[in-house]
């Protein structure tokens, strides 16, 4: 007892069900057993293997030490906080969870984690942005672990057509925290005999990453479609010049993007109007707050002035860049034929929206017509954009752009924008922060159909609340809270409660 005894090396794996944590555990067991170690692994799969968080645990012990002692080591079946040598996490939040569970100890634990995110359902369900702050986990992990090796293993797995478990296995080899050479790791994959080539590629990528020589990833799919070449007309030059001369440095890119978007959406006239509205707001603004008001207004004005209607959606759907992007996204190989079908569900309202304002308004008010046409709109439609018929239909719908300024929807939206602008201008005189929040509130108007109507209802409710709160000390803060509340649930319960509180 008094002599320094050999202790097992303890390895825990935190993974999501279906991510291959079990495969990784089996590899580690095989690695150890083939290289002079006794290995024991356990897991608690159960229901967690259906996408939940689960943990695998492995202990390895040198066979020689056991033979010398003439007895088998007693290996634990679950990690004890403070007694983990290597913690492997297949995803960033799972690394955070391991730290919370006490499985990462300073001065002891090597933490190997993929820094990518698989969002939890609570994060995905949010009506706005409910994603957890990954940076906090990265910082805590760096402070808590003896060594923290992390890289985006999902990207590496995708890039090498392998799976996260093989990248993790590579990172484990590259971390050099187990007494086995790289070759021994590779042999395990070979022995497995399943998707060997891909697994070895993933392994190599993880190994290089852990050695501080990360693999250069294939260029990611460009986030936004590359802007087409700029037009060279006089009108275009005039708009560009106005943006350049009117707006301060820090706003130029934003307003320029807004103008570009409006022109792409409709025409130069639309862009001019946008720039004029933004310029008018700027004229009232000051640089005390770095033009916060103009910044928010210009941004949301651009989004509002390019609201998604039938021609816009059709226009975006038929673009060549989109076709190319989809091919890349589904990783179609040369020679494979890719076709695309859209899921659309136009309603009576969308048709009226696209008619001349007088006609659209007239039809919308006629219950009888709505009832008569109901069968036409009951079911969704699947449009095959890559077929001639489907393409031509969308092509023609996109062409309706020309008539847009006369449509019912255009009139409605522009009137709403005027009301919003007027309200911002009014608040700006007495309560700058409130004006900024009111500008931001446009964020709620998004989506299509009922989603859009719900957002608009929330927007209007908050506008009314803002009117009633004008002059109150904390009006801006309250409006900001109301916006957050509107994004909590789609039944509007949180907003209703928040409105009650705000008004009382």
């Amino acid at each position: 007892m008094d002599q320094q005894t050999v202790r097992p090396t303890t390895i825990a794996i935190g993974a999501l069900g279906g991510q291959g944590g079990g495969v990784l555990a089996n590899w580690i067991v095989d690695l150890a057993e083939a290289n002079g170690y006794i290995a024991q692994s356990t897991s608690v799969p159960g229901v967690a293997q259906r996408t939940g968080a689960t943990i695998y645990y492995i202990e390895i012990f040198p066979r020689q030490a056991a033979e010398q002692a003439g007895r088998a080591p007693i290996l634990a079946l679950m990690p004890t906080p403070g007694d983990v040598d290597i913690m492997i996490a297949s995803e960033l939040v799972e690394a955070g969870r391991a730290i919370q569970r006490g499985l990462v100890t300073p001065g002891r634990t090597t933490l190997i984690a993929s820094s990518h995110r698989d969002y939890a359902i609570s994060e995905k369900s949010n009506l706005g942005d409910g994603r957890a702050e990954g940076a906090v986990i990265l910082e805590t992990a760096a402070a808590q672990a003896k060594r923290f090796i992390h890289m985006d293993m999902a990207a590496l797995a995708l890039d090498t057509s392998s799976v996260i478990s093989s990248v993790l296995f590579g990172a484990l080899a590259g971390a050099e925290c187990l007494p086995f050479p790289r070759e021994a790791f590779k042999e395990v994959i070979m022995r497995g005999g399943v998707a060997v080539e891909a697994n070895v590629a993933g392994f190599a990528a993880g190994y290089a990453g852990a050695q501080g020589k990360p693999r250069a990833l294939a260029a990611p799919v460009p986030a936004a479609a590359a802007a087409p070449e700029s037009a060279t007309s006089k009108q275009a030059d005039a708009i560009r010049a106005r943006v350049l001369t009117t707006f301060p440095d820090e706003l130029r890119a934003l307003v320029g993007e807004g103008a570009r978007r409006c022109a792409d959406y409709q025409d130069f006239r639309h862009a001019e109007e946008y720039v004029a509205l933004a310029a008018a707001m700027l004229a009232r603004d000051s640089d005390d707050d770095f033009y916060a008001l103009t910044r928010e207004y210009a941004r949301y004005l651009a989004l509002w002035m390019t609201y998604e209607d039938v021609p816009r959606v059709a226009d975006l759907k038929i673009r060549a860049e989109r076709f190319a992007g989809i091919r890349t996204d589904v990783r179609a190989e040369p020679g494979e034929i890719v076709s695309v079908s859209e899921y659309m569900h136009p309603r009576f309202e969308e048709v009226c929206d696209m008619l001349p304002a007088w006609l659209g308004g007239f039809l919308l008010r006629r219950k009888s017509i709505r009832n008569l046409t109901r069968p036409l709109f009951r079911r969704g439609r699947r449009v095959r954009t890559t077929s001639l018929g489907g393409f031509l239909m969308l092509y023609m719908l996109a062409g309706l752009r020309r008539w847009r300024p006369g449509t019912l929807r255009f009139r409605t939206e522009m009137a709403a924008i005027s009301g919003w602008t007027a309200r911002i201008e009014k608040f700006q005189k007495t309560d700058y922060d409130l004006a900024v929040e009111v500008a931001r509130c446009q964020r709620l108007i998004k989506g299509y159909g009922d989603t859009n109507a719900r957002g608009r209802g929330n927007f209007n409710a908050i506008m009314a609340a803002a009117d009633s709160m004008q002059g109150q000390e904390n009006a801006a803060r309250t409006v900001s809270l109301l916006i957050d509340a509107a994004l909590v649930d789609d039944k509007g319960a949180a907003l209703e409660a928040a409105l009650q509180k705000a008004v009382n």
Binding site: V44, G46, G52, P79, P106, I121, Y343, Y395, G447, T451
Partner: protein
Amino acid sequence: MAERSFTKEVEKLRAGDGEEFRGEGILAVTKALLQSGVAYVGGYQGAPISHLMDVLSDARDILDELGVHFEASASEASAAAMLAASVNYPLRGAVTWKSTVGTNVASDALANVASGGVIGGALIIVGEDYGEGSSIMQERSHAFAMKSQIWLLDPRPNLTSIVEAVEKGFELSEASNTPVMLELRIRACHVHGSFTAKDNRRPKMSLREALENPVRDASRIVLPPANFAHEQEKISARWPAALEWLKANPMNEFFGPPAGETNSDIGIIVQGGLYNTLIRAMELSGLSDSFGDVRLPLYVLNVTYPLIEDEVVKFCADKKAVLLIEEGQPDYIEQAINSILRRREVTAKVFGKDLLPMAGEYTGAVIKAGLEKFIKAQGLHTNPPAPALAPVSADITALGDVVPPRPAGFCTGCPERPIFTAMTLVQDQLGPFHVSCDIGCHLFSILPPFNIGNTTMGYGLGAAGASAFTTETSRRAIAVMGDGGFWHNGLTSGVGNAVFNNSDNVLVIVDNEYAAATGGQHLLSSRAENPTRSTRHPIVQAVRGVGVKWVRKVDSFDIEGMKETLTEALTTKDSGPKVIVVHGECQLSRQRRVGPLFRKAREAGKRVLRQRFGVDANTCTGDHACIRLSGCPSLTLRDNPDPLRDDPVAYVDNSCVGCGVCGSVAHAAVLCPSFYRTDIISNPNILDRFAAWLRGAIITRLQDSAARRRAARAL
């Protein structure tokens, strides 16, 4: 055809004398059964013992060679009733299930077999689904052993000990004419380790010999007056016989310093299953080395019921204090030990649930904390070895806000998801309903994003759980039941019951062709051909057969159809139970079936079609209604590519299997035009290529002209 194929592992079951067997705990148990000359095995799958059933299913050849009958029982009750074969004949038999839920179901038959007793060894292998990873109510199988006088083994969680427990369990059973229960915790079932194998043995008596020479003994049948005699016999004959056998063949173990040496005046008593965790805690506290060479006397109960009074007294007699480590509640063992010591006037003080928690799993940290309290109270000085535990240094409280919970959920492409999407949409229109749930994957409906379901009363009991709600009202209760639960007992307890009692409720039966939650085992209604089982017995026929008039079949991916059918069921004037059978093959099983065929065909140059779904990032506005109505793991988020927007857009990642639910959701809920389906044809034929070329030529031309117009207004 279960979720995991064991064809490779099964070969290990042939290992002979002296060979090293490496594998999972549950596989070792299977091997031990064959080494013990078992004649028949039955059971019902469920974590953590599903693999035992799956291995045996895949081991048909070996079982046939040995003359072992294996049955995938209809329920745990069916399995337990199988043990009747050991009542009259010296046939060894084993049954297995998930406990305590399975033991609940089995207890009628168990009590009967325990009352009359057995002459052939009868072993009940229970996977104790307790603590982390468990999906059921937290209870102990111990109570069942006590109430029926069944001996309970809780071996140390290493393969050698587990295998020995199986072998000795049969002997003990035969020596005491009592069924023996072998309790394996979750991690022990899944532990990978090794043991030295023995040859497999054919059963001493074959089932055929037994059938051809029937034996009848009325005194073994539970009927007055035999039932009264049985109770006396348990106490006067079988219990003493068990103690006698255990005295000759000790199963409990003693470790540590013998009487008279340092520290021998205090000791620890532990359930065998917790031994490894205790040793690690002792090691970290400086009381043991890695080989379990402990500095305190240790008494390991590999048999936790009955307690062997003489052993307990012998261990405690020279001690001032003992710590009992007994997981779960009530503290049956602690009560029993106190009672023994009091009766035998042993003064050792028993610590247990006063230093350790009464309820909850005994993890390494929990045992270590309790152990340290005990050591401190006894004034023992220890010398924890390096590496000492470093304190937590970083401030980890900030993680509380950024580590979201990760509940289990429906898999990508699961056919059950659209059912609850439809139910959500129906509730949006008709208002909320009372929903009685069952056991199975569909129970994930109670979790986000669906949040549907009020109660679950057990496997197959979804419909029965709604049976009180038979009353005059315009609102009907909805019950959900899986095909697993349906065949387990739901056909009678739920459907038949509803017919007989004129229930007006709605029952949704999820027919995914497998017992999916337990690992994709086949059922009566599975569509697949199974060489050893009789499948393809439609649920609809069974439901009609027990008298249901209103039955509808719906394709689970048809969300509109499901919405309409459910609405009709909830509003129709027809009386009697309304049964909707929703069919859609379990995607996990489907991918396992179809995936390899697809890859093979593609590689062989055959024309194959695959589908995937996508979301247009520039028309998605980031509201995520689609996610709230689906919850598909492959439907996730990514940064909004639009520099003017902050809210992330929906995104379908590469794990998409093209089930189409997200598109149907967009249609049914009138969400947005962002979803699209991509059809990818590999190895297209000449017609495909020509059509694609023609379309491409025209479309490209139109795209070019549109692009020119856009360029003219580009800024």
